[in-house]
Symmetry: C2
Subunit: 373 residues, 2 copies
């Protein structure tokens, strides 16, 4: 078992390559916080299943895992005659693992493009690996910058409150587990914590898969950041009573106009933030923008997942992880995994390049090089 | 085990008196939908514990249980010398079982007042029983009228949609389990169902105690009403996409100005309803009004419950009810049980007297006899 002390600094990442460069190793996030297990992904099918079944999850990490998946496809294509066709087909399969996070398509297309440029099998393998690792390091660097940029917001609130505790609410897990290091929404939190700013995080449990109460709470606890788990229902009440100073969430896909797809329930928190004049920020690397879309509500595909993720809840009892049935046996459930927060409810976007308003004009000014394809 | 067929009609109630009139029998709602068990309350302490531990829950049922509790106090006071003082003290204890539902205080004070008027011990016992049963029958009658009044809203939507399915969203359980018969929020739903109107109910699971996915789903399923369980996070997304025609919820306490305390998370649904022009109605009998309060956010006490209700989830596995731990062992949680939806977000109140706007003026016109005390 990897070292768990100060686990959110650089001691461990949620994904790494085995020493022989043939196996992707990932923390199996379905089992946290109760079991720390490492899963081995040896094939494109393994990669697809790990993404589908949320063994890895979080938009940036899905992108990174998929990037390594293209590398595995190149490794496996070695003996095939038409390896370019094979690669393109495998990439199509990887891209269809989950529909909402744009990082998946973005990362696969990036690695594929570099791979196809190489002429030989070994050249393709090298190109795929290089590009995948470039993506990993860029995402780490971007998350670090998101932390530096977002830190200013928290520091300012702290000053305004005469160094009293800054209460930050977050939804789902947009931590280092969802990325590679630092996280997106958590990057400013960790940066503020390291600066010694007095912070406390309200952690939405984030039904149905409890990424908040399982993963964010675990991350923050390991790092020693003060936090309290709440139900997804509670955030509005807290904001009504002045108990939230800022909301920071991540994003699975943001349009060029600033509409934000994120874990289901994000929109409700944005509404409550607006109703109570609480700033609502979205932290995202540029890989989470979809430059082709202008209307998030109409255009971003929202994943429907297995209703049993709602009907059953997984937890820990007597040394084992168990699923217990909540609903009547015969009651159906519907599992919408994401929602879209319209740009009008977003105070700002915290990116690696700085903080901008969630408007097409400001996003375009921040990323002038990005064009729709 | 009581007959479970068509259980929501008059075959069974969540509370009744034993034949010898000495024991209150209640459905133990903590075990539903997995076990149908009847608990016996034989003392004031039993009544207090049943209310505290949500063996009985729902504002009207808490009131009714407490009313019978005063009767048990009178029965138990028989041999005491200062029975009035004793009764007053016992009533104080009952009233402090839970803080938010106003029905508790209302019902206890009503029964106590009648009881104290009688001079003899046996007179007090009779008076307490009579008043408790009067409350029960009034609540049943009021819920029936709420159903008739709310039916018009659903019928009108059905007509406007050319008899296509009317989609109703509800939060928590404001069904017959929370009342005695019909329910409050469910009364219009059952009335519409009986009229043959095509309806479908989105059932918020209602964390942390899952009164939606456990109780409302069970009630609706038993009656044959089409329903789908969703996470508390999902309602906003559904409303954004035109999948909710009307929201109907209950109330634990509503001010004379129309501010509505209800299960935590209700406020978030009200915000989403307003943002998407979906009508948001609160169904409540007059016993849920607090005529003394004008500012719900400032004045209604919000219960804080055991954080372990969030950290653990109870469900069914291999023939047994089990609690499984969700969060890291060391992560704290905070369990705010209710929130307040400001009157400005409420389209209307469905009461036994009719439907009125959530304004002091209109509420006063509907209940001119009600004065603050």
């Amino acid at each position: 078992m990897p070292k768990q002390e100060k686990i959110c600094s650089k001691h461990i990442r949620p994904i790494w390559l085995s020493q022989n460069l043939k196996v992707i190793k990932v923390i199996d996030q379905r089992l946290l916080p109760h079991r720390f297990m490492v899963a081995e992904l040896k094939s494109v099918d393994d990669v697809i299943n790990a993404i589908k079944e949320t063994c890895v999850r979080g938009a940036p990490l899905i992108g990174v895992t998929a990037a390594y998946g293209v590398y595995l496809a190149a490794l496996n294509a070695e003996d095939k005659p038409a390896s370019n066709d094979f690669l393109i087909k495998e990439c199509k399969r990887i891209k269809s693992a989950r529909p909402t996070a744009i990082n998946l398509t973005w990362a696969v297309d990036k690695v594929l493009a570099e791979t196809l440029k190489a002429k030989t099998s070994s050249g393709k393998i090298k190109a795929a690996l290089n590009e995948a690792e470039r993506i990993v390091e860029t995402e780490v660097e971007n998350c670090k910058k998101i932390g530096e940029n977002g830190l200013n917001l928290i520091a300012e609130i702290s000053r305004r409150k005469d160094n009293q505790t800054v209460n930050i609410l977050t939804h789902c897990n947009a931590g280092w587990l969802a990325c590679v290091e630092y996280g997106t929404a958590t990057a400013p939190i960790y940066a503020a914590f390291e600066k010694g700013i007095d912070i406390h995080v309200w952690v939405d449990e984030t039904r149905p898969l409890n990424q908040g109460s399982r993963l964010t709470a675990w991350e923050l606890g390991k790092q020693g950041v003060k936090h309290t788990v709440i139900t997804d229902n509670a955030g509005g009440h807290l904001m009504q009573h002045g108990m939230v100073d800022i909301v920071i969430v991540g994003s699975d896909r943001t349009t060029r106009t600033g509409d934000v797809a994120n874990k289901i329930g994000t929109y409700l928190k944005a509404l409550a933030a607006r109703d109570n004049n609480v700033p609502f920020y979205v932290a995202l690397p540029s890989s989470a923008f979809d430059w082709n879309l202008k209307d998030g509500l109409k255009e971003i595909p929202i994943e429907m997942r297995d209703p049993d993720e709602i009907r059953y809840v997984q937890g820990f009892d007597q040394g084992a992880i168990k699923s217990v049935l909540i609903t009547p046996e015969s009651s159906p459930a519907a599992n919408f995994a994401f929602d879209v927060t319209p740009a009008r409810l977003v105070t700002g976007l915290i990116t690696e390049k700085g903080i901008c308003k969630a408007t097409e004009h400001d996003i375009n000014n921040m990323f002038p090089e990005s064009k729709s394809t």
